[in-house]
Symmetry: C2
Subunit: 319 residues, 2 copies
């Protein structure tokens, strides 16, 4: 079993959606990723928290066998994000960002983490993402995410980071922004040309696209239909956690594995969005995931579709 | 083989997209639908054209064995729509609408059309859609489309029309508008409760959703990835033409047939959007459709996904 290292934010979020509102609820990419990934893999987490960090929130991770020895605790307040969503929940509106202890975050990878097999660089300053890569020995697979802020302010460093990774996960809007190419089918290829072999574009309620540079293969899927959508915060990091933990259980990876990993990530994320913050993902178990995966596969599969292609051809010959 | 009747607009469109611009190009829902459907079925068309209508545009339909005897030719100019698309091509921006002869359109169904097996009421005034239904004998399947204008101005009549049909095809934005429900997974159910057994929601570049009221079954698929997207005008009516013509070749219909019909419609529409107006769909043949269907199925299918659900379960038992 491959061990996963995730480096990202640990936060208290204040979130308002058309359905619910919650103050200072546990959040941050490292939390969503770890809670999601720990269902299938061993996870090492690196991040920073302030002295206001609730011991129960740390206990939540350790109870899931997440190694939290890389979580630095420093004087000051934990990172805080305040945001809201309007009816179209595909885009978050940031109201306030209080970096607090995150402002001077300098990721130090404990020695016991340095031989991690899979590394996920969640959305943080690309300079720090590069710094993490310098500290790990020879990971088999490196993934990263980013956001509009870094595309606008540190594009050069960001491109350097992207050139060193194997898997890029990125939102559709940010894929367009980073490549300057609106057509997402071209954009995903341009992203792969920047370095990564696999590019995963996250499309919110419309699902995801995955691209394999080696074969030129594409995999496009809708999201799991969710009637009780409450709060999309963390869906992307939950997806990434599911994705990399699925791959962690395999020795080698081909594009079919990546496709199945995407499905696993997508299904895991469908739980996160049905509750505020980490509410749903923190109590998730694998049998719930299995049931949801079966339901999802029913929604996206049709029998006899290949035969259909053939029958259309027969009619052609009859004409 | 079931015969299809389509009633809709016949138009000359002026279209501007970020990629191309074209004045007075052949358009209208009846044209897109007929060109698409005639690849698999016999089509009867009802609509109205002015005395400026180019005989070659009529010949285009008759050369595809579309019966155009129900196309009324009256003094005046043919309906004209001027619209543009910005980078996000999921929504058209109407610049000008000249109804011309379409303003006093009174659909008369020729006697030879009255026994049509499948009827598609393209997006026209719901009062006229109802008038068409009064003139057909006992169709086995009735489908209809609509738009924001009728939702806002003739909602009561529209709901009456929807209560009488078997299949509703509608854009995602209009589904939300008509039901007042933003969550599309709830919205699609509300639409079915208005009457139709099957509801198809068209999501532009994000594909489609199909819902079966009887079983509560859902089918969600992305669109065919199109790198050479040029002009989305007519994609919805091309989809409908492909959808109903696929069903026309069957004696009875269940939800699996509806799913395959959606795939056929979706694949046909992927040709329309790769050219201005009817440019691509008018020269399309079934072997091109077959090839594209095979490519599409590769993009949306993954081997071993069901086994994946099972293996996730096994790991659960090991924990």
């Amino acid at each position: 079993m491959n061990k996963i290292l995730v480096v990202g934010s640990v936060a208290y979020d204040s979130i308002e959606t058309p359905y619910q509102k919650q103050e200072k609820t546990l959040g941050g990419s490292a939390n969503y990723f770890s809670l999601s990934a720990s269902l299938l893999a061993s996870v090492n987490v690196v991040g920073v928290v302030g002295d206001d960090y609730n011991p129960e929130d740390l206990e939540l991770l350790t109870s899931r066998n997440v190694d939290t020895s890389g979580l630095q605790k420093v004087p000051g307040k934990t990172f805080q994000w305040c945001g809201k969503y309007e009816k179209d929940m595909n885009e978050a509106i940031t109201l306030e960002t209080h970096l607090n202890v995150f402002e001077s975050f300098d990721p130090v990878i404990p020695e016991s983490y340095q031989d991690s097999d899979i590394v996920f660089l969640a959305n943080i300053d690309p300079e720090l993402q590069l710094k993490v890569l310098e500290q790990v020995k020879s990971p088999k697979l490196v993934g990263a995410d980013t956001m509009n802020f870094w595309i606008e302010s540190k594009k050069e460093t960001l491109l350097k980071m992207i050139s060193k990774i194997n898997v890029l996960t990125i939102n559709e809007t940010e894929a367009r922004m980073l490549t300057g190419e609106w057509n997402i089918n071209k954009s995903i290829q341009s992203l792969a040309e920047m370095g990564p072999q696999y590019v995963i574009i996250k499309r919110g309620e419309y699902g995801f696209m995955a691209y394999d540079k080696a074969s030129g293969g594409l995999f496009v899927m809708p999201a799991v239909p969710v009637k009780n959508l409450v709060d999309p915060t963390g869906a992307g990091d939950t997806f990434a956690g599911g994705f990399f933990s699925y791959l962690a259980s395999l020795k080698t990876w081909n594009f079919d594995d990546v496709k199945r990993a995407c499905i696993h990530g997508c299904v895991t994320a469908s739980f996160t969005v049905a509750g505020m913050g980490v509410e749903k993902v923190k109590s998730l178990n694998l049998s719930q995931l299995q049931d949801r995966t079966k339901e999802y596969l029913k929604v996206v599969q049709v029998s006899g579709a290949s035969a259909m292609a053939a029958s259309v051809s027969n009619r052609d010959q009859l004409q």
